[in-house]
């Protein structure tokens, strides 16, 4: 099947006068993606549009080649683990997952078998007969995940799955998702915790203010930002003289000092050239550095840069 995983054509969704997502144009081939953005950035709205829970105010949504609003059958190929907590206190995980699986139309025997298998795969076999109300948050998250995978979907969508999980729970979930991807299945993982997403997949959609700022793998995202200034923080003595020299360089973009003049923030458009210049200057002049801090090249720094560019601070 060569159909795209997602295709969104000029999709906007408004909540009265508030923009949930605005003019998203996107074509995603099959694969695993991290949907990254701060809280309130539009991740859940994006997911609700993709799953047909919300109708776009403008534009068209296609998931696995189908419009989820019109062809509800495509939902049998999607598994969703929403961010909201599970509030069925008196029902056991097994009964609830059976219920959710049965709603896909499987026979009674197959429903039971699938529910047990999916609960076992998320490590809930021992506790699955207990009422959900007695579960820890981590166990409820695993139960939610079990209902999302029990019908063997092609696409698994998780909305903030790491919320409330302890370190062991996070590790186990990460392992599970890496296995999922290794089996060649599709994944959309919405989170605001960048390093956890980065540990699972290398392809990202960066969303902020209801807009997709960038998409691609970490390297592609960073290359998009190559022209944007990067902030470098220097601490030491002799920085005033150093700043005067730097100001004439073509990769220089801006600077600021603290009151004691021992802390300099430089904005540079080419880190490589800057570092070469800094090494030279440190040898030739009286600049005496005690620390240098610059973006570590992680996705987090790239994301911060994108946000700055989006706000017009570039």
């Amino acid at each position: 099947m060569n159909e795209l995983l997602l295709k969104l054509e000029h999709v906007s969704r408004f909540y009265k006068t508030v923009i949930g997502v605005g003019d998203i144009n996107l074509e995603l081939p099959r694969g695993a993606y991290g949907l990254i953005g701060p809280n309130g950035s539009g991740k859940t709205t994006f997911i609700n549009l993709v799953t047909g829970m919300l109708r776009p105010s403008l534009g068209r949504v296609r998931v696995l080649g189908e419009n989820p609003m019109h062809n509800r059958q495509v939902l049998s190929r999607i598994g969703l683990c929403p961010a909201s907590d599970l509030l069925y206190p008196n029902i056991s995980a097994l009964r609830w997952v059976e219920y959710m699986t049965g709603l896909h139309g499987f026979s009674r025997e197959e429903t039971k078998e699938r529910a047990r298998r999916s609960l076992a795969s998320v490590g809930m076999l021992e506790n699955m007969e207990r009422p959900i109300g007695s579960y820890s948050l981590g166990m409820r998250q695993r139960t939610k995940l079990a209902q999302a995978i029990a019908h063997s979907p092609e696409l698994l969508i998780l909305d903030e799955p790491f919320n409330g999980l302890d370190p062991i729970g996070r590790h186990e979930l990460s392992e599970f998702l890496r296995d999922w991807i290794e089996q060649g299945r599709n994944l959309i993982l919405a989170s605001h915790i960048l390093h956890e997403v980065e540990a699972i997949t290398s392809s990202f959609l960066l969303i902020h203010g209801g807009r997709v700022l960038a998409s691609g793998d970490a390297r592609e995202v960073r290359s998009m930002l190559s022209g944007f200034p990067v902030e470098v923080e220097l601490e030491g003595t002799g920085l005033v003289h150093f700043a005067q020299r730097v100001a004439s360089e073509n990769w220089f973009s801006g600077l600021s000092f603290n009151e004691s003049k021992r802390h300099l923030k430089l904005s540079v458009t080419d880190q490589t050239q800057f570092l070469a210049y800094l090494a030279e200057a440190a040898c030739e002049t009286d600049v005496n550095l005690t620390s240098i801090r610059s973006p570590d090249g992680s996705l987090e720094s790239a994301f911060e840069l994108l946000l700055r560019a989006h706000r017009g601070e570039g």
Binding site: R72, L86, M100, L103
Partner: protein, 255 residues
């Protein structure tokens, strides 16, 4: 679709077997009988007329009992799922919305009708009605019809206005089924109460003084009322299904 509906029925039926809900069922099934018992345990100075007894039994069992049961079960068809944040899971199944509506409708109807049938038998036995078997059979048939019709009505209200479904259902019931059904005009023919009451009068030969019988109970034969209720119920269910499939119910949003 059928499997999914059966799954909803199975799940919802299991949820009826909690202590709280069993107590509610017992309350609905037994309170009309208890009232009848209390009524007849008082020293009687005047004998209650047969027709008044039939009307009392009808209002207690069919109007009050069934409606209370359905207010509890049919009205929160969507609201309870939205409140417990479980709607998103149901709506994410290909036939989830339809299965939930039909499944919950069936369970609400069966739960209420079963309580009503027990109630009807108890009231018929304890009411000192001259023909208790006829009263019991009539009440049972009316309970089943009331459960089927009012369940559809309350499900529609629950789907159309999930956030305020119970309040709207209570107001509608008082206004339309309570007040308008007794107004001697064409409008009362659009109420379930009018038709059920008319069938009670038909089958138990209940009459009121003067020309009140024709005004309150109408002159149509029972089959017309049954057809009217069938059309009424199917229309309400069709509208509810259409709303369920097309309406966007509020879901979590981070924007």
């Amino acid at each position: 679709m059928l499997h999914a509906t059966i799954e909803v029925i199975r799940f919802e039926a299991k949820r009826t077997r909690t202590t709280g809900r069993i107590c509610m069922w017992l309350g609905l099934a037994l309170f009309p009988s208890l009232l009848m018992l209390l009524l007849h345990s008082q020293p009687q100075t005047v004998t209650i007329p047969r027709d008044l007894l039939a009307l009392m039994a009808y209002y207690l069992v069919v109007q009050v009992g069934c409606m209370l049961g359905l207010l509890l079960w049919a009205t929160p068809v969507v609201g309870s799922e939205l409140e417990s944040q479980t709607w998103v899971y149901l709506a994410l199944r290909p036939h989830g919305k339809t299965a939930v509506l039909v499944g919950k409708y069936v369970v609400a109807t069966l739960w209420t009708a079963s309580a009503g049938i027990v109630s009807a038998c108890g009231v018929a036995l304890l009411s000192q009605f001259p023909e208790p078997a006829s009263l019991a059979v009539t009440l049972i048939v009316l309970v089943v019809m009331a459960s089927v019709c009012y369940s559809a009505l309350f499900v529609l209200i629950g789907v159309a206005l999930p956030a305020r479904a119970t309040i709207v259902a209570v107001v509608y019931t008082l206004l339309f089924e309570g007040v308008l059904s007794t107004i001697p005009a064409t409008i009362n023919k659009f109420t379930v109460c009018y038709r059920l009451r008319a069938m009670l009068a038909n089958w138990l030969d209940v009459s009121l003084p003067g020309s009140a019988t024709e005004v309150i109970f109408g002159v149509e034969p029972a089959w017309q009322h049954i057809v009217g209720l069938f059309l009424y119920t199917s229309s309400l269910l069709m509208i509810a299904l259409w709303i369920m499939r097309t309406k966007e119910f509020p879901v979590a949003s981070d924007a």
